[in-house]
Subunit: 375 residues, 4 copies
């Protein structure tokens, strides 16, 4: 790393690995970054996949040992998109170097793992960021600006959903996501984007009561007739209280038939309401009581160059952003923080609140009682 | 009451009074009823309003004493649309006569009042019905048929909302709806349509945990500067469990800016999902996994003559039903039950479950614990 | 007819006959009319149907001869909802009496028939109205107010559709609507609501060029294997110029699969745009450039008590109106015009412009040239 | 150009220049292309902008003379995104080399210029493609598959719009797009995507009749008070006939307030209907008469990995594609055609039909008569 170049090391080459590679490749042209980004090295779990990943994703070098990548003197910053059980160890190694790290959500499998990461980040004093990609959508950024400006007044209620159907089909086999030992939790952890989003938009959550269920308790295990037991939640829903006094509801499901990107929210305030649906990611709905009574209605704001970051991608509103464009903004935010230490959302400490809420929610499903977040 | 005529007595002449009068006037032509309905007598709280109501709503006679109406030998059946605190007494008088009664929701102010009404109805053995108008929408009837047929499989989750903004404006003065003594509860009771709808669609609810808040604690009291304290909830939300094992969420608000008729639900099942929004009352959205994977999507079914009751109103789909059309179906259902004893939804016993859920939810907001429904 | 009562004679008892009967029955209560409406007499084409209609629709008397109804001294006003080929003769008889008449659209089968009706109305000097029900929707009335107020500035373009699919199925048999001799024209005449709506909203049309096609040229004739030739258009579309200088497009189809009530418009002006879809009849979409650039968007105005006529039906916005509610407004407008001579939209003269546009469009499809309206 | 590398020369560095640069940078990783793409050289109109463009867009070399770029032996293929008046000359030079060329739409300013390009392409025998980016959206590709498979039967009607409001504001100054000499035409040419789309989806157009208007005839010319006359259409609309017998309507506007990406279509067939709106670019609406009558409705298909090309970008449906993703597909199609000669949509000959329709439409607005396409 010098004034002109930042060399990126990527750990993990699955779905998010490809998205991050594209983002690293595009960020300079998109945003006019003051440094060049180099795809220096990629690490995966074995030599074949690692050498393939280097070829396919355009990295200069590869390794089957992530520790080697972290230690490599030519790797300046780390992007980690491995499964949850590796998050803590990789982050701790990177921060010990110390090297800046962007780590896929959730922070760890448990609150304890997450806390280790936050403490390491505090000590390291380098850029650190958790990969909550959807927070980078200009539509949600606009929602935040509207909330912060007081346009919809005092917030009374937040309803947030992240529901999908990727595990609706009972014939889908067991994976690491379905087993507590590796994933930590089920839908509630995998789809915790909405928890982080609630935090980003409406502030800290103080109390939760939650309920969950496993609707498909056995899954094929890959043998002709064998099955394995699922021990993580297929769906969890949560009542919560924000520090501000607002009430909140969070719903997370991986078995909501027909919902492919059911991430969204409705926020009711004293002077208006905001509604968002990630499946229509370049639209934000706004109702304001400031319109005259006979002309009031939810308006659909089509994101455009008037709104933050959108203008980097397209000349006109309605042209539309896609998923990978959010990843590019995410990488841009990370790199700028690396360069000049500016804050990012969410750094490890911000993301830790998500872990605390998650932890309290899981506790609550077990005890059947309201749980205090952070206790 | 004879084979050819049923003479209706109406108590209350406000908003619902007008709708019921229109419904009584239209039902014979609309549905080809085997009897004529006569608007025999109307009762309100004073002589002026009663005589005006008779003239405006087309009733033959009027009284300022509802007991007189109930006792009148020429009144065959009672429709009661007075404020909540009169529901119990009027129902008990009518059922003692015994005369069939259609009584506006909720049954009473409290579970105890409601229980009195159910017991009186059991004893009387005449037609009795609670006024949950929205249950009569052919779209919700279609949802019920889809659920009962198994088309969307086993139900995993029900999310039901009834959110409006009729009390969002803090300058609106105190009314009976805002005071516990008269209304029993706030949004949770006034908007309990969604509780009844959850029951109608997905069966009985066994457990709830709820939270609520009063966001505008003082309202003008009508004097130049005086205010009165609001002691009923502006918003309540509830996690619940159905007897079937499904999870549920219910949200009720009278301060959800921009929501005018925010009554609706999403029901996720193993093989599909149903979505409904009363503000678009002649549409039902259905997702089914039976469509081929590359052609799956939520389809918007426009209600039409293929669906129950719709054909009585219009020749074609898309012509659209309105609020008063649902009231007409409600009156039709009541009259048919009067004639031949057929079941209606909801009779007092069905509606009592709504009261039990309400009661458990209010309990839960006070204790901060899960509450068992009916205990 | 006296100060207290208007006695209605209805000719035709099909779909619209039922809707008009309901409207006559409800108008007094709905609108607080200063007179009572009496369902005096109904006429249909034979004795059985006429006596059934009287029983089902609640008329005091019946006849199988419409001339008898027109001549009857106890019939004060006429509502005519017979097929197109009877419109002219009935109107001429009623106006000769003279008795006020509300006559279903279109005026006649041809421009010549329509002109006879206009001239008879001029001479008679009594209330006359053509039955363009959709013009009575408060949403379209709101669109007119917005246009007249200049809120969206100078109108550049009007796109109006009335597309349905009631004849998409090729197995549907020949009816009077499919034969020129009885219907005058096909989709273009049957769905001419959109032409009248264009006129109502944007003023007179001066020039048209049109194209049409018959996509199902043979239909079953009711015999086991026989077919009849269709000689009316299944779809017609029209470019037009308004007197104001605005450009317009009109599309009319009875074979647009999936479109059940595809009546709607988009109007682009210098300062905004209005969009309406009759299938969501209680919503109007408005875009205005007066909103700040980063908050602009199409807003969905939910009709409510703030908007004309809506308040007669329901207490709150979002409760929704239905098709029959528009018919009630139509009857109210007619009756008020009978009472005090106030103008209605559309009277026969207004509706004649629709016939002229229709005639010019049909001409244009035959000559392949632009046609001057009214020439 | 060798087996491993294709070196790209880009002419023009405006909005599309940036999009093409991103696409060239991403295509290899996105699609797993068998060759590497090198951003070899960029040409703009002067040295400053050219050297800036090279730095910002990541090109190795730059020039202020496009002829130099075309002649450069290290440039293998050309992407041209200059204003319309340069399209012909650049294409002719590239094809004379001969070098493959992807040239922004429209082909030329006039049909004559376009014909020169087609003839040069025929002679050159190298890959040639016109830049109709929206044709690359997987949603429109799905529409084409549905049409080709016969799923919605015989097509009766195509309604296509491309309406935007980028010139609604009368204070916007004169640009090359507003002057015939440089642009050839106004909205009709600039937004001719919809003409190409009609062709792609429904086949050739044989006849048109059109109308247009200039609604803001004078624009500021950059001097304090001066104005210039606009001589290109602000809006044009067209009735057309397809070779298949289907009727069509095309609407093109740059003054449709509130429409930002109003590109879309509705296609009615004997067995169903397709509806698409580019502002919701990852959704396609489908109605099919094959669903049972009481379950029919427009379904919203959310594009996903089941559909062509989508899977290259994201793991799941609903994640969403953006504008630049379509440009990437466009570049991929061009490069594959360069590599193995496979057909692309649209090559110059395909795009020439768009020019012919455009030309006939402009003719028709001048003569006031139907015009035969290609005559």
């Amino acid at each position: 790393m010098n004034d002109e170049t930042i060399r990126v090391g990527l750990i993990g080459s699955g779905y998010m690995g490809k998205s991050f590679s594209l983002a690293v490749g595009a960020a300079e042209t998109l945003f006019g970054l003051p440094v060049a980004l180099v795809k220096e090295m990629v690490a995966t779990s074995n030599e074949t996949s690692a050498s393939n990943a280097a070829a396919e994703l355009g990295f200069v070098r590869w390794t089957a040992d992530w520790r080697e990548l972290v230690a490599d003197p030519n790797v300046d910053v780390i992007i980690n998109c491995t499964p949850n059980h590796l998050h803590r160890d990789i982050a701790l190694a990177a921060l010990a170097a110390p090297k800046p790290i962007l780590s896929e959500k959730p922070l760890g499998r448990t609150k304890a793992e997450a806390l280790d990461m936050v403490q390491a980040a505090d000590k390291a004093g380098v850029a650190n960021m958790a990969g909550y990609t959807y927070m980078k959508n200009p539509a949600t950024r606009l929602a935040k600006e509207i909330l912060d400006s007081g346009e919809i007044g005092r917030v009374f209620h937040f309803r947030g959903l992240h529901i999908e159907d990727y595990l609706s089909d009972p014939s889908l086999p067991i994976t690491w996501r379905l087993q507590k030992a590796q994933a930590g939790s089920g839908a509630v952890g995998d789809l915790c984007h909405i928890i982080n989003m609630a935090h980003y938009l409406c502030g800290e959550i103080t109390d939760v009561v939650a309920d969950s269920s496993i609707v498909i308790p056995e899954r094929p295990d890959g043998t002709p007739t064998g099955t394995s037991t699922v021990d993580t939640d297929d769906q969890t829903h949560i009542l919560c209280r924000f520090e501000s006094g607002a009430l909140g509801y969070l719903e997370l499901s991986r078995v909501a038939s027909g919902r492919k990107m059911g991430l969204g929210y409705e926020i009711n305030g004293s002077d208006g309401t905001i509604v968002f649906d990630q499946a229509r990611m370049s639209e934000l709905k706004l109702f304001t009581t400031k319109d005259s009574p006979d002309r009031q209605g939810f308006r659909t704001i089509l994101l455009g160059p008037e709104h933050s970051d959108y203008g980097y991608f397209n000349s006109g509103p309605g042209h539309g952003l896609g998923y990978n464009d959010m990843v590019a903004i995410e990488v841009r935010d990370f790199i700028l923080s690396v360069l000049d230490g500016r804050p990012v959302w969410p750094n490890f400490a911000d993301a830790y609140h998500t872990e605390e809420v998650l932890d309290a929610a899981i506790q609550s499903t077990e005890t059947g009682k309201w749980a205090r977040v952070g206790s």
